[in-house]
């Protein structure tokens, strides 16, 4: 009974709840776009967007309305994405003892790259670039996407990623070079198209 009373007390007021719904309606498409570039997979992107907005709703009382809602959501998404990558990394860990029980050294592990729905952008012109993005670390990927795709200033990126402008500057520069090297090695035709534009 006490728990319910306390929950009712801290639950968002109806007008705040309506405000959240409106902001979510306006920003969810843009959030999905970034999530798709971060994960490279439609279902994972939807999961990430869902996790982000659930967290945003829980902590909406901390949101400062003088700041852009999208930036606040991106900040939550950056953390949620890192948590997601860590969780997936732990799930993929397989004990060495589990192999070779039948006298072989074969592993029965799924090949993520071979999955037909792995990349939503498969077959499109963006696919090689998306693959290059996925080869980067999440923090580099997020920095490059916020600067190049979202067109944000370094200070905004630093605010979202909770780091210094100097770190953002370094991540963006190194990230772009990594992208270029990946394209040069794995997708020479895209790289040559890029070079021809010089």
């Amino acid at each position: 009974m006490l728990s319910t009373a306390v929950r009712d007390f801290v639950r968002l007021k109806p007008d705040r709840s309506a405000l959240f719904d409106g902001l979510m309606k306006d920003s969810h498409k843009q959030a999905f776009g970034l999530a798709l570039r971060l994960t490279g997979h439609a279902a994972e992107a939807e999961d990430l967007v869902q996790e982000t907005f659930v967290r945003a709703f829980r902590f909406f009382h901390r949101y400062d309305e003088s700041l852009p809602f999208t930036s606040w959501v991106y900040r939550i998404m950056a953390n949620a994405h890192i948590d997601m990558v860590r969780r997936r990394g732990r799930m993929k860990t397989t004990s060495l003892d589990s192999a070779g029980s039948d006298g072989t050294t074969l592993w029965d592990l799924p090949d993520a790259a071979a999955s037909p729905d792995r990349l939503m952008l498969q077959g499109t012109m963006d696919e090689p670039v998306q693959r290059a993005l996925l080869a980067m670390t999440p923090k580099f990927r997020m920095s490059v996407l916020l600067a190049d795709v979202e067109g944000m200033a370094y200070e905004e990126v630093a605010e979202i990623m909770d780091t210094s402008v100097g770190t953002v500057r370094s991540r963006i520069h190194r990230g772009r070079r990594q992208l270029r090297e990946h394209l040069k090695k794995h997708s020479p035709e895209t790289y040559s198209r890029l070079s021809n534009e010089l």
Binding site: L2, V54, L121, G151, R169, R180
Partner: protein, 156 residues
């Protein structure tokens, strides 16, 4: 500006994130250095490629699913407050406050007034020799003499 220094600033130059002096110095260097100029153009093309991404529409029904997920998942778990790094749920926090108040009132009611006033213990005087021994050991013997216990103590 040398090539290494210039190349480290190329991305910030493209994004207009350098200060005026750095922008001019870099522009000057790039106009004279072919290697850095090519590097600059390569990074600029990459940025154009990225910013030209076609926006992808969310899957059908995502907005409705999102609304349901936010309502059910966010409201199903009790809201909590974070006190530094300790996570305490609201019911626990309120219970702790009321509990501590109840214990305080209970103690105030049952402890008699008389027992709270403790008689001041009388201090027993320390023998003069012991006081001097302590002072001597602390190298602050006000009398500055030899120790109370002489070196010949116990030989007799």
């Amino acid at each position: 500006m040398n090539c290494k220094s210039a190349q480290n600033r190329l991305s910030a130059y493209i994004d207009r994130e350098l200060n005026g002096g750095e922008m001019l110095a870099l522009r000057d260097h790039v106009s004279q250095c072919r290697v850095c100029r090519e590097e600059l153009e390569s990074l600029r093309s990459l940025k154009c490629l990225m910013s030209g991404f076609i926006p992808v529409e969310p899957p059908t029904g995502m907005e409705a699913r999102l609304l349901i997920a936010v309502r059910t998942r966010a409201e199903s778990s009790a809201p909590s407050v974070t006190l530094r790094k300790i996570q305490i749920s609201w019911p626990t926090a309120v219970g702790l406050v009321f509990g501590s108040m109840a214990v305080t009132l209970f103690l105030a009611a049952i402890v008699p007034q008389a027992t709270r006033v403790q008689p001041v213990a009388k201090s027993t005087p320390i023998p003069f020799e012991v006081q001097r021994d302590q002072s001597y050991a602390a190298s602050s013997d006000p009398y500055g003499g030899a120790p109370i216990i002489s070196a010949t103590y116990g030989i007799r």
